[in-house]
């Protein structure tokens, strides 16, 4: 079992890199999640992994540790009501605001990609319904490991059964051995890249809809405020941030929070 000093060190290094807050109560889970990394790096235990990370001059091991502790709990169409709202309200409203221009949607902290692919499937269904939506979907996560899995679009039988209606499974996926692969059109509809929410998202451009769901609770209040402020800079006028079920946001200049979404209601000072 990891001792207090090791847990404190891991918590400090992870918070510096990803902003996530780890608590002492998570000690057992932290050790379990780091075991595969310890094995991959040739160490006999997580203790050895931490000891090596402490003395290595570069921060490669700490980056890997942060990566392996990245939040990866996600599912297709998580919080069904949020996706119904996207389909019937938020995406059509963004399309109407943009006229004939393409709208931009950002799945921030996308983990293994289920959220972004859920949006892509919705856009495809709108297209099949004759709405001809022009949309660009960008999906990011700070973890290169998770982004690689997302980009591959390969999911286990367990993963495709969590939240994904069977008709969508057979419409958009094919069997690949024991796994299920989402079709090339869905994969081509999304630009996956790494991005750390601790950094300003300026390079990603501005978005009409940002999905920032089940991310903020892993941060402390100061980090939540800083993340919201940076995210707000990436929001187009009248754009919306969709939060996770039951989540609220700290006060943020230019944003009004109501009923699970934050709406950009005013211009923000230059970042």
């Amino acid at each position: 079992m990891l001792n207090e000093a090791e847990l404190a060190l891991i918590a400090r290094e992870v918070k510096t890199r990803s902003g996530a807050v780890l608590t002492r109560e998570m000690g057992g889970a932290i050790e379990l999640r780091l075991m595969p990394l310890a094995r991959r790096e040739g160490f006999g235990s997580v203790h050895e992994l931490i000891a090596a990370a402490r003395i290595r001059a570069d921060s490669a091991l700490w980056n890997s540790i942060t990566d392996y502790l990245a939040q990866s709990d996600t599912r297709f169409f998580r919080d069904g009501a949020a996706f119904r709202r996207l389909y019937t309200d938020l995406i059509p409203a963004a399309l109407a605001r943009r006229g004939h221009e393409r709208i931009r949607i950002w799945s921030a902290a996308c983990s293994t990609g289920q959220e972004a692919y859920s949006v892509a499937m919705q856009i495809e269904e709108m297209r099949e319904a004759g709405l001809n939506p022009a949309a660009e979907i960008v999906a990011t996560d700070f973890s290169e490991r998770l982004i690689e899995k997302a980009r591959a679009g390969l999911y286990t039988q367990f993963e495709v059964q969590r939240g994904l209606p069977i008709r969508k499974l057979i419409a958009h996926f094919e069997k690949a051995g024991d796994l299920w692969r989402i079709d090339d059109r869905m994969r081509a509809a999304i630009s996956f890249s790494t991005h750390n929410l601790m950094k300003h998202p300026g390079v990603l451009g501005q978005f009409d809809i940002i999905l920032l769901r089940h991310v903020l609770p892993s941060f402390d209040l100061d980090t939540r405020q800083a993340v919201m402020s940076r995210i707000a800079d990436a929001l187009a006028p009248q754009g919306v941030i969709l939060l996770g079920e039951g989540e609220t946001i700290p006060d943020c200049e230019g944003l009004t929070f109501s009923n699970g979404i934050a709406i950009r209601t005013a211009a923000r000072a230059a970042a």
């Binding site: 039988q157 939240g163 209606p165 069977i166 057979i170």
Partner: protein, 121 residues
């Protein structure tokens, strides 16, 4: 209370499903094959049916085709629960009138998710 008929020739699967579904506030009836299930439905149509594919006497797919011809047989929401995981089999089940489809092995989270997708949340 809503009623769910659990149809599977495995007593263990029926027991596992029963525990999860009772937690979801379903009253459970069990059948070990399609014919038993059909007889149970003729006595009283359930609100939901959790249905295995491969069973002795009458398979799940044959039961479902028959059920949908019965008076009131269009009412129950049917969720397949099977090891069959080929796209062709899934399409066949949907064509026969299944509302959702769950591939074994499953856990409580998946069963709840599938029932929610079938409108049984």
């Amino acid at each position: 209370m809503r009623r769910c008929l659990v149809v599977d020739d495995s007593r263990v699967i029926r027991k596992v499903a029963r525990r999860i579904l009772e937690d979801m506030r379903f009253e459970i009836e069990e059948a070990a094959d399609g014919l038993e299930a059909l007889q149970a439905c003729r006595r009283q149509m359930p609100d939901a049916i959790l249905l295995d594919w491969t069973m002795p006497v009458m398979s799940g797919i044959d039961f479902l085709k028959q059920l949908r011809q019965e008076p009131g047989g269009d009412k129950p929401t049917v969720v397949f629960c099977t090891t069959e995981n080929d796209v062709e089999k899934i399409a066949e089940a949907l064509k026969a009138g299944a509302d959702e489809y769950m591939m074994k092995p499953f856990d409580g989270d998946i069963l709840q998710s599938k029932f929610a997708e079938a409108g049984l949340a």
